[in-house]
């Protein structure tokens, strides 16, 4: 193992009903994914404000992933449909500003998809690791 190997910081917003339960299931099944992924529980993916996403980058996150119920399965019937539109536009805008599009992702993970949760996180961490540190949306004041 290399010394000082770059470890990205990933913030994952998970909806309480599907994806957070999916993450729990990944745990129950002892499916490994990198510890760099830190989960924040929200009632529904539609609770995630674009400001939270930017805040995470400001504070030093290298990637932000939002997980919710599959379209049509939202506990609140329509929340994830709004998430889908909001994040589609936000991500497109970030890309437009030249920020690497691989740093943001929305993934639908059901409560039964523990394996998908782990696989998604593994893949996301790998992609963000390949990109390296977030320089384009960083706030130097927050770097030590």
């Amino acid at each position: 193992m290399q010394v000082n190997e770059y470890k990205p910081l990933i913030v994952a917003f998970c909806c309480n009903w599907c994806s957070y339960a999916g993450a729990d299931l990944a745990g129950n099944n002892r499916l490994n994914y990198p510890a760099e992924v830190k989960i924040i529980r929200v009632p529904c993916s539609c609770r995630v404000n674009p400001m939270f996403v930017l805040r995470a980058f400001q504070r030093g996150a290298d990637g932000v992933i939002i997980c919710g119920c599959h379209p049509g399965d939202c506990h609140y019937t329509s929340g994830n449909y709004f998430t889908r539109r909001r994040m589609a536009l936000l991500f497109s805008m970030l890309d437009y500003l030249g920020i690497e599009k691989e740093r943001t992702r929305v993934e639908w993970v059901s409560a039964a998809e523990g394996a998908k949760f782990a696989a998604t996180m593994n893949d996301f961490v790998e992609k963000v690791t390949a990109l390296g540190e977030n320089k384009r949306l960083e706030d130097l004041r927050c770097k030590k």
Binding site: L9, V11, N16, Y20, A21, A23, D24, L25, A26, G27, N28, R30, L31, N32, Y33, A35, K38, I39, I40, R41, V42, P43, C44, C46, R47, V48, N49, P50, M51, F52, R55, A56, R59, G60, A61, C74, H75, Y76, T77, S78, G79, F82, R86, A118, C142
Partner: protein
């Protein structure tokens, strides 16, 4: 500043195997607000919980962080623990260091580091937690049932039976719905009227039930337990409480050529009418489109002959406002229009009829007094062709048919075929089918009897074309099993038309903020686990408005809806989830964005007077959230550009504090 206690659980070796729990407890000691931080083998055990209670008492804690298994597992446990020790249960946060840490990471230093960060995030959140109290709202102990068919009738009877008052709103002059038009019912072949009309009488005589017939719901405000409903009672020009239903007016009415909708236009009625003998309420109604008196002031015969003096030509629509605790939607179905199916010549020949028309033709109270006669010439048909799936399972042309299976046609067609053969053994009966679907108790046996005992010709294949020629209907069809094209000279063709939700359902759904699918069937709160509730709290579904169903299924769903209503009305108060949205009126600009994303219709607007800093007053439109209706998804909080809308328990500041703690 909070006084926070941190409790790190070992969960035996589940957590302690991969996370250095002592190091976690130690690291969290230094976090802002943390007064005490400790670890224990099983926090959820009796002694673990006692430890938390003791710490609350000893250190006067105001907030609790438990680093343990998933909050989905034990959040409730620890909230109860906190509550029993006298602090608000919503001052507890769980850091999930088992499912999302120790179980997914193998390396102790890595697991420990992550557990500390998750703990810090939870501490950061608790620092911003506020005590939450679930809201309470009273329950109006009265139910409204919209639709007076068998679904509505059964629901109303069951609710009334439990002792709660129920109002039925029916847009036709009588309750009874589609079932009142049917002849016999499958699979037992009892007569529909025989089993329905006693229930209609029960409804009429039940002092807990009021019937608003010839009425419609025009406005719904409020929320679960507290609906304010406006009902428009159409003028029937007959005083309902005075009319005895004697029928003298009907006999005298000179306007006798009004198509009788109860018999689907196959015969006529008078301008003043009672739809059928057992109508409930049994009160006459004047059809303003045909009544000469109402149209041009000439006639007035009915008023002259009415001994009771019930006729009132000046009657106006009446608006009734009533409060309800629960609303049941039972708006039912209609067969789709056959006009677009040119290939079956429905519009060209009177002898091509729908199954519902066939019901009337075989019904003793129908236009032919129960004799099966051709509508065109009144002759007895010797060859009858039934066509199934007309407009059902039809994906290709949305303007013609429906993509779904209408579910009831296979069985009623078997019934029609069987009854025809029973009464008129000299008749040849053909049924063209794609599949015969008979899941249901005694259903397949019933269908088999039609084939085996009654000699109905079931042919796998479809009719391609019906051409009227002379007094015959040339039917061109395929027999897929014989791989032959058939040409049958039929006397009567009966189309099993697909069914669709009543047209009134869509506007009603808007009033109720209840969601619908693309076919205008009401959506259930959960397709499997909450099949009789709509996602809108306090709105329940009964019968075919939710999806095609037959009578037994409708009645059982009606009962289920009723029991849900009874369960609701039995409560004196409703306790909500306190993690709901709330709007800061000072910041809200009333733009309606939040309202448009709310799936529950929990947000309303009102004009509020503000005292401005310069001592003037200003009236502004602001949003307010009804905590009894809000389910706490948070969609509104992001739709709101000013951040006036926030969510209790998942406030923006709390989520951002978690983000900060994680990214530190």
């Amino acid at each position: 500043m909070q006084r926070i206690g941190v409790f790190v659980c070992w969960c035996g070796t589940n957590i302690a195997g991969t996370v250095d729990v002592k190091a976690v407890a130690e690291a969290l000691k230094n976090e802002p607000g943390v007064i005490v931080s400790t670890d224990y083998q099983y926090m959820c055990s009796q002694s673990g919980q006692q430890m938390i209670k003791d710490a609350i008492a000893e250190h006067k804690l105001t907030g609790i962080v438990v680093c343990s298994c998933s909050p989905r597992m034990h959040e409730t446990t620890f909230r109860k623990t906190a509550a029993s020790a006298g602090i608000n249960p919503y001052m507890v946060e769980i850091a999930n260091i088992r499912e999302q840490c120790s179980w997914v990471h193998k390396d102790m230093p890595i697991g420990t580091e992550k557990a500390i960060i998750l703990g810090k995030a939870a501490v950061a959140k608790v620092n911003l937690n506020a005590p939450l109290t679930p809201g309470e709202s009273p329950v109006t102990k009265r139910a409204l049932v919209i639709g007076g068919g068998i679904a509505g009738i059964q629901t109303a009877l069951d609710i009334a039976d439990a002792g709660f008052p129920v109002d039925i709103v029916e847009k036709k002059p009588t309750i009874g719905g589609k079932m009142a038009q049917l002849d016999k019912t499958f699979p037992t072949l009892d007569c529909a009227a025989c089993i329905l009309t006693p229930k209609m009488v029960d409804v009429a005589q039940n002092d807990k039930i009021r019937i608003f017939s010839y009425s419609e719901v025009t406005d719904v405000k409020g929320f679960v337990g507290n609906f304010d409903v406006t009902i428009r009672k159409h003028a029937r020009y007959v005083k309902e409480d005075v009319c005895t239903g004697c029928g003298a007016c009907i006999e005298k009415c000179p306007m006798k050529k009004v198509p009788n909708e109860f018999n689907l236009g196959m015969d006529n009625r008078t301008a003043i009418y009672i739809p059928f003998a057992q109508a409930t309420p049994k009160v006459a109604t004047i059809d303003p489109n045909y009544c000469n008196m109402l149209k041009n002031g000439k006639c007035g015969l009915c008023a002259k002959v009415c001994a009771a003096g019930a006729i009132d030509y000046t009657q106006k629509d009446e608006f009734i406002e009533e409060k309800y605790g629960a609303i049941v939607v039972a708006t039912g179905f209609n067969p789709i229009s056959m006009e677009k199916f040119d290939e079956y010549a429905y519009s060209q020949s009177k002898d091509v009829i729908t199954s519902l028309e066939f019901e009337r033709l075989t019904n003793a109270a129908g236009p032919t007094a129960g004799k099966l006669l051709r509508p065109s010439d009144g002759k007895h048909p010797h060859t009858i062709v039934f066509v199934q799936c007309v407009g059902s399972r039809c994906e290709a042309c949305a303007e013609k048919g429906k993509e779904y299976c209408s579910k009831i046609c296979c069985m009623y067609t078997a019934k029609h075929a069987m009854l025809t053969r029973d009464k008129y053994p000299d008749t040849d009966v053909y049924v063209f089918y794609i599949d015969v679907r008979t899941p249901g108790k005694n259903f397949d046996e019933f269908y088999r009897r039609a084939v085996e005992e009654y000699g109905v010709h079931y042919i796998k294949g479809m009719v391609g074309k019906v051409t009227p020629e002379g007094d015959k209907l040339k039917v061109q069809a395929s027999d897929l099993l014989l791989n032959k094209q058939l040409h049958i000279d039929a006397d009567l063709v009966v189309l099993a038309a697909a069914i669709e939700p009543d047209k009134s359902a869509r506007p009603l759904a808007t009033l109720l903020t209840a969601s619908m699918d693309t076919n205008d069937f009401f959506t259930e709160a959960h397709p499997k686990l909450r099949p009789v509730e709509s996602p809108t709290a306090g709105v329940f579904l009964s019968g075919a408005c939710q999806g095609p169903k037959d009578i037994p299924e409708t009645v059982s769903q009606a009962g289920a809806a009723a029991s849900k209503v009874i369960g609701l009305l039995a409560k004196d108060k409703l306790t909500g989830n306190p993690c709901v949205a709330h709007s800061d009126e000072m910041m809200c600009n009333g733009c309606s964005s939040c309202e448009r994303v709310c799936p529950y219709g929990a947000i309303t607007y009102n004009d509020k007077e503000f005292r401005m800093p310069d001592r003037t007053t200003l009236i502004r439109r602001v949003a307010s959230v009804n905590p009894a209706v809000c389910q706490g998804c948070g969609a509104c909080t992001v739709a709101c550009p000013s951040g006036a809308m926030d969510l209790h328990g998942f406030a923006s500041s709390q989520i951002m504090a978690e983000v900060d703690a994680i990214c530190k």
